[in-house]
Structures are given as structure tokens and as C-alpha cells.
Symmetry: C2
Subunit: 424 residues, 2 copies
């Protein structure tokens, strides 16, 4: 790319940032009714534009096939009637969620008569960078809108045509509601330099939400000058304590690993207490192997069950996102917590036990966004948490941690009401 | 500085980071009683070490005088019996505040029987970078400790001897309470490269809190790879609406500007509604000039009162931190909000009015951390807000906004309790 094109992209992104900030300022005081009208009208526009969306998606699919993209990638890229309807229904569901802006989070009186309220406000402008799934365009734009934020969406180049039609539908909704159309913008170029420019728009963009694989997140983390809500990976652990119920342990581990292996909340490592490992492991390995899962383990695990292959050092730090699990035998809850402290990505960890003391020890001391007792790590999801929807999961400790829903897309301000108080 | 010394400083800071992280892990589950014991024993140690502190401070003062430091700087650096006692009392006051860790922030049940709690946790390791005031060493270390965080303190080189003795007292408190002494560490070198290394310890440090002048904050912002709780400056506005009470307007503006001119919550720009400017301004200028304040204004303001000097374009973007105020005449609340949107640092803004409609408009639409009606902007302070103490003020919108007290130094985790639930 030559210098002129680089300059053009920098100017393009600056312009988008400026327009987003202006839209955000209007959006911050938009009524709940207007935001909901925009969402329901966007849903209507998506349904009315089914043919145009399918056409655009066919172009993306053809290009993807020509490029030789993997089947799983093409499956994520593909839209059909059902998926378009699901997108529209998703927008309506977000319209039905409570408005997270303008909520009085707390309030108190001071002895001098000042009344202080903490009131939720939008964050401002959110940049969302994602890969091939076109439905993220609708989801992310809608979540940002409902939380009063303007969004700059940067989808994968492979889904560009599909996303462009979807954003046109969202803009129809904004227009119908009398809201600024720049509240939702799609980066109109597949050029990768646009991402670099977006990550430097510190003046205009308040948060970056990257969604995608580890390499995408690593690249964005290294480049971004803007704070992020992100998780790099989900190396989730399930620990079977010596106080575990046998059947529950087997069922929960099977679900935690195998329900869907490709999600960040899937368990990647199983820790088993030494006292119960010989009796429990064979049954669990039966269930995992039957379900098509490869089992790797430390020497203690291998000694217990011959179907377990020897794990390498790397296994303990690997997010398989596949039908593979690593198993380590530990002395008890202390060693389990130590193993998690060393290898976890601070996403989600679970203990299976009937011993409430061990459970509390684990819940208190494990430093992850989500800690569970007697439940599958696959519940690590904004929908399952009752948040209605999520734009991602954060393993950071600042602002948002765990599922990032509407509430996590807001900030707050202090509103102070006085009667002429001066500070002594 | 040669390469060996640079390598040494990098290794030194890595070691401090690692030690802080290990201490933070212990501190996260420390009892409230242990943390409070550490604080009260630290207070005792400060009182017992008065002579040593005064000796160390005398060394710092002598070096500062030799270096030709300004009187105001030396005043901030100076310790005496009263200031040491105030530091000790400050530690005791922090011991008396509620523990912000382990608080159930919210909890709810899911239809599948899962019980979800959101529980406050420490952030981890906090790096505090500050200028000459040695009492920040005690304050910041104590606030981090009470909120379960380990701290790495980097004071100004001018206060190095004083801070070193203060940290020794804090470590005595930690030891007496059975808590890790590495929970509070002072960077043991005045070398500026240590700051650069601290700002790159992404693996160990969770948040940086810079406290100081604009140039310090700008330098740290440009260099830091770690998120920050900070404010660059406080360009605070007071707007006198046409619905303002005359006496209240005069009293509040005088207090907002002149109570202390050197704090970030001091009003720097006065906006006055056009309809009331001719009747109100002269009285306000009387009061300001009597108090020793220089008044600069736009052409409308100058036309109303001859004592007002013509302001330059820069005045509207200047944090004077001095007995100077800029005055602009505006058409009404809309133009006041627009002026603030353009020139404010999003710290604190106030409207003086008896008109509740204008007040609500201002409170809703001004996008600052703190918005006030009929009160002095000098109330922008964690103590005045009833938070007990603050480590700083944040103008960012992520995590902490406004005064940063104990609560803002915490994160949270989700604790999920089940009875064997698997995700369908």
C-alpha cells in the first residue's frame, strides 16, 4: 500500500471517530422509547431485507470458498432464513431489556445537606473488532445502541458484504427513531490498516471490544492505545474434590468439556483429588472417550487409567477448543488452587464437592472472573447469567469482569444537589 | 547511565513486581482484623519513629534547598510533628472504614436453580507514582492495603529519605499483623528509568495511579502499558443561570474559585447567562478582586466590567491552579453546556439556578465525572463525598470515575453455586 492510501485510511478513520463521538453525545440523552423504536425498526428492516442479505452473503460465501476457507469458518459466515430471523429476534430481545442508562446506582445525603447520586451513563464510543460471523454486526451494534453508546464496527473482511447490508438495516432503524445514523458505523474497507488506525483513535473511542481467536486478540492488545474489554483465552478448570458426588462429578465434567468444545467456557483441564482419583477417574474417562474426547494426563493419571495419554508441559497451558482434555491428580483443594493460579486464564473454574468448607476455600481463593461449585463451566455466558445478552467475556479486573452485558457497557456520573453549600 | 545499570533497574523492578504479586495473592484473603491491625500498628510505628522521620525529612529539605526548589514545593515536602501525627491519624481513620473486599454487591437466582453472587475482590497490585508530598506514601500504601491490594510506591526523588522511613513503619505494621511485608514496597532508587520499567510491568501490576502535575501525568500516559486511574487536569466550570439566586451565586463562585486555588476541583472558568450578567457580574468581580483574584473575560464580560482583562483563546483551556478566573457570557444553559463540552476536562461542573428544568438539563447533558447544582465545585473530593479517603480523582469513564476511594480500588468476581447443573 502506498503512502496516499495510508493517509486516506487515517483520514477515513478520524472522520468515523469524530462522527461517532458527535452521535454518542446525542445518544447519551436519547429516550428509552427512541432506542427501542430503533431496535424494533431495525429488526423489521432485517426481515424486509432478507433477499438482499442472502444475496450479499452469497457473494461473501463464494469469495470464501474461492479463497479456500475451512468448513467451520464458512459455517460461521453462512446466513440463511433461520439465522436472519434469529438476528431480528435478537434485536427485539435487546429492545425488551431494561435501559441500563440513567439508573440511580446509589444515593446518599451528606451532613452539610448535599445530596449525592451515582447515575449510570453511557461509555461513549465503542469499537468492536470481530471475525467472520455477520450476526455479531447486528448484536454488537444493538447492544451498544441500547446502552447509549455509538459503535464503530469492524467485521472480518470475509463477511464484508453481509455486514454492510445488515448495517444499512440498523441505520434504517436509527433513522425511523430520529436518532443519528452515525450511531452505528461499519468500517467501509477491508484494509487491515484500518484496524491499526481504529486502535489509535484515543480522542474518540472509549473502549475496544475484540472478539475472535487468540492471535487476533494478541495483535490488538499489542497495538491498542485504547482500553479493552477482552479475554485472550479460556483455560477453564474443573476440580473434583474428595468430597464430590460420583455421579455429579461425571455428569458435570462431561458437560463442561463436551457440550460445546469450541466455546471459551469449556473446561480444558480436569483436576482430581488423589484420594478419589482411582475410583472416579475410570468412569469419567469412559464417559469422555465414549463422547469422542481424547484424554491426556500427568503420570499419576496415566498410572490409574491406561487410556490416558501422557500430557506434555504445554498441555496445562493450552486452550484446546476441541475434544481433548488434560487431567492432573492433585493432593487436595490447596494444590488445585495452586495449579489454577499457575495455569488458568482467570476465566471460569469450578469445584465439584459436597464439602462446604472446601467449596468456600475454592470460591474465595481462586482469582478468576467466575468461580463455581457443582456446576458446569459452560454456564459462563451472559445469557445463562440472566443478563439478556453479552458482547463478550472479560478476564480483566477493571470495569467489566465476566460476561459483558448492557450494564457493563455503561459508566456513571455523580450528581450533587445543594442549596448553595460552600466548602469550609 | 550505562547498559549494566539499566539492566539492573529492569531486574530490580521485575523483582518488585513479582514480590508484589505474591503478596497480593496472600492479601486477597487476609481478614479485615489483620488489615486493621497492620494499619493501627503502622500508625503506632509512625508516632514512635517521629525522630527518625524528622531526621530523614531534614536531609530531604536540605537537599531540596540546595537544589533551589520553590517555596511551595518545599512546603509540600516538609514534615513536622503535626503532619506526622496527621499521617498516623489518617492510617487509623482508614482502619475504621468498612472493608470493601468480600462485599456481596448483588445476587440472584436462575430458573435452573443456580445462585449467582457478585462479590467484591481486590484488584491485585497497584503502582502509585507521585511527587514530593511524603504523606502520600502513608495514605496510598494504607488505602491499597485496606482494599487488599499490594502497592508499589514511587515517590518523588526529593522526598526519598522521608518516604523510606515511612515505608519502614508501614512494614512494621504489616509484620505485626502477620501480613507479607512486600504488600507495600517503595522503589528504592531515585533513577527515573525505574518509572519507565514500572509502567511496563503488565504481568504484575494491575493499575497505575499517577498523582501530580499535568506534565507528569502526560509523560506517564504516553509511556504506560498498564491501565490508569488518573485525571490530567481539572478545568472546572461554574455556570450562573438566569434563574440563579444573586447572593448564592456570589458566595458559591467565590468559594469555588478562591477557597483553595491549587486543587483540581477549583473553578477555573465562570459562565454567566446574558440576561443576568450586567446585574450579577459587578458584585462577583468585587468579591473576587477583594480576595486577590485576577479576572479575565470575553468581550461581553469586559464590556460589562472594566476591571475584567481581555482573555486570550488559551484561557478557556487553562487550568490556572492560581488566583485567576476566566469569565464568558453565554446565551443560556444550552450554550453553557456547549462551552463545557468544548473546554472542560470532564472533572466537575456546577450550575447555580433556582430553575429545576435548567438544572436537570445541565445535570443530564454535561458529560463530567461530577455535576452539581447550587454547590461549590471544591466539594469534588472523596472525603467530602463521604468515602472516607481517596487515592485520587479519575476523569476516565472506565471502572473508577470521580473520587477513587476504597470501593474503586476493588474488582469483583461472580460466585455461582449449583447442585450439579449441566448446560442443555
Amino acid at each position: 500500500m502506498n503512502t496516499n492510501e495510508n493517509t486516506d485510511i487515517a483520514a477515513l478513520m478520524q472522520g468515523m471517530g469524530k462522527a461517532a463521538k458527535a452521535a454518542a453525545s446525542e445518544l447519551a440523552s436519547a429516550s428509552t422509547a427512541a432506542k427501542n423504536t430503533a431496535l424494533t425498526e431495525s429488526a423489521k428492516a432485517l426481515r424486509d431485507s432478507k433477499a438482499a442479505i442472502l444475496d450479499a452473503n452469497a457473494k461473501d460465501m463464494a469469495a470464501g470458498e474461492k479463497k479456500g476457507l475451512k468448513g467451520s469458518f464458512l459455517d460461521r459466515l453462512m446466513l440463511d432464513d433461520g439465522r436472519i430471523e434469529a438476528m431480528a429476534a435478537g434485536l427485539q430481545a435487546i429492545a425488551e431489556l431494561a435501559d441500563p442508562v440513567g439508573v440511580r446506582l446509589s444515593d446518599w445525603d451528606r451532613p452539610n445537606g448535599l445530596h449525592i447520586e451515582r447515575i449510570s451513563t453511557p461509555l461513549g464510543v465503542i469499537g468492536v473488532i470481530y471475525e467472520s460471523r455477520p450476526n455479531v454486526t447486528a448484536d454488537a451494534g444493538a447492544l451498544c445502541l441500547k446502552s447509549g453508546n455509538a459503535s464503530i464496527l469492524r467485521g472480518g473482511s470475509e463477511s464484508f458484504h453481509s455486514s454492510a447490508v445488515i448495517v444499512t438495516c440498523l441505520k434504517q432503524g436509527l433513522k425511523a427513531a430520529g436518532l443519528p445514523e452515525d450511531a452505528i458505523q461499519l468500517v467501509p474497507t477491508a484494509d487491515r490498516d484500518a484496524v491499526g488506525e481504529l486502535l489509535r483513535l484515543v480522542e474518540y473511542v472509549d473502549v475496544i471490544v475484540p472478539r475472535g481467536g487468540k492471535s487476533l486478540i494478541e495483535r490488538i492488545t499489542a497495538e491498542s492505545r485504547i482500553p479493552m474489554f477482552k479475554h485472550l483465552e479460556g483455560i477453564c478448570h474443573t476440580y473434583i474434590d474428595d468430597g464430590a458426588d460420583t455421579d455429579m462429578a461425571k455428569n458435570v465434567v462431561l458437560n463442561a468439556k463436551m457440550r460445546r468444545t469450541g466455546i471459551c467456557g469449556a473446561t480444558e483441564t480436569l483436576l482430581v483429588a488423589r484420594t478419589v482419583a482411582p475410583t472416579l477417574l475410570p468412569g469419567i474417562v469412559d464417559a469422555l472417550v465414549d463422547a469422542g474426547c481424547e484424554v491426556r494426563g500427568d503420570t499419576d493419571a496415566v498410572a490409574i487409567d491406561g487410556r490416558i495419554a501422557a500430557a506434555s508441559d504445554d498441555d496445562w497451558d493450552t486452550e484446546y477448543l476441541d475434544a481433548i482434555i488434560s487431567v492432573a491428580v492433585v493432593d487436595g483443594v490447596d494444590q488445585a488452587i495452586a495449579h489454577i493460579g499457575e495455569h488458568s486464564s482467570q476465566h471460569t473454574e469450578a469445584i465439584i464437592t459436597e464439602d462446604s468448607k472446601a467449596a468456600e476455600e475454592f470460591l474465595n481463593r481462586v482469582d478468576s472472573a467466575i468461580v463455581m461449585v457443582n456446576a458446569s463451566t459452560q454456564f459462563a455466558d451472559g445469557g445463562e447469567f440472566g443478563m439478556g445478552a453479552e458482547i463478550g467475556i472479560s478476564t480483566g479486573k477493571l470495569h467489566a469482569r465476566g460476561p459483558v452485558g448492557l450494564e457493563q457497557l455503561t459508566s456513571f456520573k455523580y450528581v450533587v444537589r445543594g442549596t448553595g453549600q460552600c466548602r469550609p
